[in-house]
Subunit: 634 residues, 2 copies
Amino acid sequence: MNLLDLIVGRPLKSSEERAEQIGAAQGIPIFGLDALSSAAYGPEAALSLLIPLGLMGLRYIVPISAAIITLLIIVYLSYRQTIEAYPNGGGSYTVARFNLGTFWGLLAAAALMADYILTAAVGISAGVGALVSAVPRLLPHTLGLCLGILLVLTVVNLRGVKDAGTAFLLPTYLFVGALLITIVVGIIKTVLSGGHPDPVVSPFLGRGVPAATVQAASFWLLLRVFSSGCTALTGVEAVSNGVRAFREPRVKNAQATLTIIIAILGVMLAGISYLVKAYGIMATDPGQPGYQSVLSMLIAAVLGRGVFYYVAIASILLVLSLSANTAFADFPRLGRAIAANNYLPHGFGQRGRRLVYGHGIWVLSFLTAGLLIVFGGVTDRLIPLYAVGAFLAFTLSQAGMVLHWWKARGVGWLKAALMNGLGAFVTGVTVAVVLTAKFLDGAWLTLLFIPLVMSLCYWVRRHYHNVAVASQCTMPMEAVGVGALPPIAVVPLDRWSRVSRQGLEFACRFSNEVIGVHVEAGEHATLLHEDWERYVAVPLRAAGNPVPELKILSSPYRFVVSPVVDFVLELAEKNAERRIVVVIPEFVEEKWYEYFLHNQRARLLEWTLLAKGNERIFTVASPYYLSTATRQLR
Amino acid sequence: MNLLDLIVGRPLKSSEERAEQIGAAQGIPIFGLDALSSAAYGPEAALSLLIPLGLMGLRYIVPISAAIITLLIIVYLSYRQTIEAYPNGGGSYTVARFNLGTFWGLLAAAALMADYILTAAVGISAGVGALVSAVPRLLPHTLGLCLGILLVLTVVNLRGVKDAGTAFLLPTYLFVGALLITIVVGIIKTVLSGGHPDPVVSPFLGRGVPAATVQAASFWLLLRVFSSGCTALTGVEAVSNGVRAFREPRVKNAQATLTIIIAILGVMLAGISYLVKAYGIMATDPGQPGYQSVLSMLIAAVLGRGVFYYVAIASILLVLSLSANTAFADFPRLGRAIAANNYLPHGFGQRGRRLVYGHGIWVLSFLTAGLLIVFGGVTDRLIPLYAVGAFLAFTLSQAGMVLHWWKARGVGWLKAALMNGLGAFVTGVTVAVVLTAKFLDGAWLTLLFIPLVMSLCYWVRRHYHNVAVASQCTMPMEAVGVGALPPIAVVPLDRWSRVSRQGLEFACRFSNEVIGVHVEAGEHATLLHEDWERYVAVPLRAAGNPVPELKILSSPYRFVVSPVVDFVLELAEKNAERRIVVVIPEFVEEKWYEYFLHNQRARLLEWTLLAKGNERIFTVASPYYLSTATRQLR
């Protein structure tokens, strides 16, 4: 117990909830890591599609960035409104389910789940990938490192939302600070130099500017650039699901958090695209020698390769690998919301010792581990896919908000509805574009996962309904009373011992018909017959009590449990009006590891009887303790 | 159940044992794979130490081989006699324990266990390593392939010894056939050419003969060459442990199997060393480009690179990776022998559905998997180590045999004892040499493992002794009879349902003092109070029966199980002379996967009560079935 306390922290009282709630300062690293870190790969993803255009491609970067930032603002405004409308947590699932119906809600939920699992796996393996390419000696341990980080994230999140926020505070603000400094210094230099700054370190050091291979951009290419850049928007969803994690006034706190995240992200995206154009920085092909990331070139161009450069690059790597944490922050909350409607096991709605939804954390952890193991820790092929889930959820959420405004039709509803409608349309188009462009690369996997999860949800709901109906009881208790038609007792035993004696004595206290059952699997039977006569039959006969019968069952296949089960079932059938109580004498060890030294037949017998039995068959665990025995012997 | 039958085969009756027993034809692949496959790496290991001597080194190969083959014959004769002396399985453990005492027996056993785990891991990863270097695309899946082969070996061995023999028949005989053909053809060509045959494919094609860097061999070098070559002897032990697997006359069958294995191995070792010298083949450095194994060069030199060459090489790879199977054949039998003396859990002595010692197979499989996972499927660094265990066991076994002859002193005992003494001395020296040469390379790991296993054995024995003493019973049963001082019943319940009704009715049948216990963890409590009054109190009061009490327990930390456990323990303490029966109402699902939808508090409560309770606390599983409920509702 102390070890557990050390790892995940002491248990928290339900009444300590308020102390666990967070403000905006912790909310940003918890819910914003995914969104903010996307500044590191969104522009890169867009720019690398422009490589064939050479320096000519740069002319498109500012308008496309403007479009993405506009979309970001639309999505932001929509979620800001959503937080206010659904202060108990209003992610895409809640909004879509309320306004569009259950099917669309579950569709959004499944899409988000796919997104979070992929976010976790891709985030971790991106971080490890960067580390491994810096220290090639670690290459054979890629998977181990991935799983190690996953374990750390799991434990930190199990410790509770506040601890998670505190742990990720420093890297997040380091990352944001480094990028903002770069942008501010870069803009000042650009303005002072009249729009044509001299890079401190030339972006294409020693390689020359990549030549253009294509003359002009097609509309399709620009569409793909736009949709790649949109990966920068994933993670914006997170805050809206986590409103309940904030302290009062929670709507205000959540909105403030979202506003700050979006503002920083917007400034970073705008600044990066402006400076990329000003410094003439183009993406390089990651598959080719001399590859360097856009951010690395940008920081070097603005501030040179000093200490600042290395601190900034390190913070980028750290934040990338920690971006997986957003999934850990949000997936359990999404799970809780779905479980509250009976569409997921109720365990998802239970808060563990640290007031977190432990089930969700574990399930996410296992699914992510599975994905990492299957792909050996190298998940870069999955990167394009994980925008699908996020954008599908955006689309449904915003379509839901359109209906929300329509239903209420308050002041200014048309403007709000139009804005959300525009958002739904644009994100919907993005989904279609990403799906079309990436279907064969693996987007079909997401398309397979989503209906699977949805069927699971429907099945869970149906099962809970059946159980509720079946166990509902409006029958009063039967007043039978003690001693009316006592049950038949069956006591399986291996040999005569203090353990079996304890079980038999218990059985004789509530039944006049006790049957000892022994499975013939060695040379014990004769010995047992003698002991039975001496220690059971003789004293009970002398006292005038009924004498238990001893039954020997044969077992040609050496099974020990199934002959006993068959005997009990047959007995129950023969005595249709009687209850059968199977008293299972058990030797209780002092230490858990001592159980490896004994077979677990008692457990197995109990489970098999439960599974194959009926309402008239009860099993009793009759324990005998090694500690008591040694005490008695002294 | 059908799926299990398909994978590991239908259960076998104990009386079917004879049909499962094997003859020499199956005995060779089962117990001989390890020994025979060592022809593929033993000479290689010896020759690679001679690389610094260049072609001059070849002059030492024939005398060293002669020494190794002599040692092989000594070990063979010793084990042949052991089989006859210990027809129930007489491995090093049995022989050492009988003749030298328990400590030496356990030392031999632990050494052999280390050897078998290493054999399994090294064999599998050697096979996969060869496959991966042929198909580099599989490199990232090294560990997966290793674990896959391990799983196949586990399943095949769980299917029973006969199936294992049949499965490995073809590759074994293919390997033996290919090597013997090469040797015979090579010898004929050598004799016809007057001792200087022309290779079909020159061994050093396109690379030239490696130059000598050292002039003469030191005694220490020759000793190391000898001890490296001795790895060819590992696996000879296997037959002596497995005598019981053979059909009658089992001693004769086992001896015949051992004779054939040793004869083939001897011929192969002699033939390879003769031809290596005749064709002037030297080992090449595996770390250098252009590396080729000695056998590959030899086969190409004798018969060219035709179809035969590729079949032969494929059979070598296959046999190398299957050589792990000898560990699977022998480890479980060793485990049984140790468990029979109470030094390992008794489970090792139980034969499963296919009459094999399943526990041993699983334990070996898990330990091997652990080793493979820790080393990422690349275990070549472990190769030098695994001779330590085998040779330590040889030494102890032969030392034991010396005492065996001395005790009996029958006809010709001195000759036999001298031969075993020589064997013990030589293998003992080999252990010392290997340990000295390889201590820092990792032999210390084996030295750590052996005392660990031995301590475990002693601990197990002590535990079984304690349990036997503590549970031994010479007290007759107390004749109390039905109804005398009935127990107090405790029924934990969440809400009023058919499930809790069933449990309460059962409790009221044997006790006048029933306490319903509810843990406050939601809004159920008020509802439960109302239901309790209506469905429990009113009808029982009307019938004049005692009315059960309802106790509400608070739970600030949201734990549900521990408040109930605390309540029961306190109740037991307050009523020191009474028994407490905790009736746990359980909802039994129809399908196992439905259990994921419900928390397993009933199980957890039962376990915690068992662990923390005492002899006066009994738990009853009171089942309610969904299937019954749905039937009743119709």
